[in-house]
Amino acid sequence: MQSLADYIRLYFIIEAQYIKARMQYRADFIVSSIGMFFSSLATLGVFWVILKSVPDLAGWSLMEMIFIYAFYMIAISPMQILFDHAWNIRFHVREGTFLKYYFRPLNMMFYYMSEMFDLKGLTQLFVGIALLIYASVQLDIDWTPLRIILLLITLFSAALVQISIIVAASCAAFWVVDSYPVLGLAWKLREFSPYPMTIFDGPFRFVFTFVIPIGFVAFYPSQLFLRPEEVSPLVYFSPLVGVGLFAITYWIWTKGVNSYSGTGS
């Protein structure tokens, strides 16, 4: 049986090898990183253009939007980098190659996800960090040690929320042949995460806060740092949302893995 320390060590060993192998394709790495760079800034570009014509977006200034956006970029990086293999579940399931993941003395989700490490996601992470520093300087945010710890905790749980949404959507592949659209929809929703939740009311606000809580990926946690006085009690639940959602996703994964009995005679 493997302990947590075993898993961590194993992960480093596997990924070190994987990265070494991928680095051989240098051109691919550079081109994809450039592509990643552009695609990750696209929505920010939209905000930038809009905020040239109006003073603020639902009461949020450009710099505050940049902060939220940077938070979002960092928060979705773990999903991008560590869980990229989720996109291929439907291929493995269809071709029967998914079976091999049952045979090692390893947790299956760990084993499956460890097979891919998306290097270009690092570009997004670094740009996000740079933007976050830039925005906090411009906004004159006071980074006390407590605040930094809070930042790390909220980033961690925001990452869990994003991971959970995508992985849960990818599990549709265990039951349905034409499962890609579910993933596609989940991916699209990600785009709306940096939007200020205050622009929504009624059913939309409800869905994005309680059902598919993309609000917890960037907007709600960011409030802790941007407008700490105005923070609603909801925000302090962020870590719970992240952990709870991941538990649900893991349950879905387990159900999917058990129901899949594979092809072949």
Binding site: M1, Q2, R9, L10, I13, I14, Q17, Y18, A21, R22, G96, T97, L99, K100, Y102, F103, R104, P105, L106, N107, E115, N258, S261, G262, G264, S265
Partner: protein, 340 residues
Amino acid sequence: MSLIHIQNLTKHFKILNRREGLSGAFRDLFSGNYRTVEAVAGISFDIEAGEIVGYIGPNGAGKSTTIKMMTGILKPTGGVIQVNSLAPYDNRIRQAQIMGVVFGQRTQLWWDLPVIESFKILKEIYKVDQKMFDRHMDMFNELVGLKTLYSQQVRTLSLGQRMLCDITASFLHNPQVVFLDEPTIGLDISVKAKIRSLIKGLNREHNTTIILTTHDLGDVEALCQRIIIIDKGKILYDGDIKRVNALFGAYRTLKLQIDNFTESTLQQLKRSLTDCFGMKHGITIAETEEFWTDVTIDQARTPLSDVLSLVMNNFPVIDVRILEISMENVVQKVYDGALG
């Protein structure tokens, strides 16, 4: 206590009877009309440590369902199954430590990495200590020259090389039982021989139990002392291979493509073969795919060459193929009570 103990094992699947058309698909969503398929219908056997057992049967016989239950993927519907005294399904991770699995077609190694790196990762996963690792890697090198492949990426290997790597990798952690599924499929005869001797060598080294599922009877002949035949979820035969071998080893199937083949040609063919050799001498004729006729011959009683020259002299034969007896035929004969 045997290593693998199976008693009255059953596995049922619920299959949806899909209704036709769009409205049917819609109704299916609400009230599923299921039928039960008995993939495994009550089988029992015990396997001891060190045995090499051939587990054969036609497609859809329940082979892979049984294997999946032994490896802990599928939960049985009923009966008892224990591997090393534990129920596989409830102890997947723990059981995985004492098992090795190899699929004929798909590799379990890391596709983009050099071969040696896959072994090193497996060493970490299975917690193989350095001494055993070195000893095993040396043994693998002795048996099949593995060192020459160390630095090659798995994706660049030929099918045969990959199989050698996959099989040796499955023995790295000194498992108690290894499941080999179609280990020689798609390989040419020299590589097959190499793989068979590898498997024998590995079995000898640590007295590892090996369960071999294959459609290649040559594998079975070369490796197995014991053979279990399964069909339609039930065991047809479980015993010494010598009996089966005696019965089928000498069989050959002659596939003929005869020009202008009609029903009357079939009758003529039957008559001339009966006249010449007597049908009781182990010859059966069947029309299989379009344009092909199968003549199955027991060489122990009637030489193939005689049958072939008779047919070629009297019928307009366009094409000929000679095959060893097929799995389907073996099972059919067992059904017919050939083994009693």
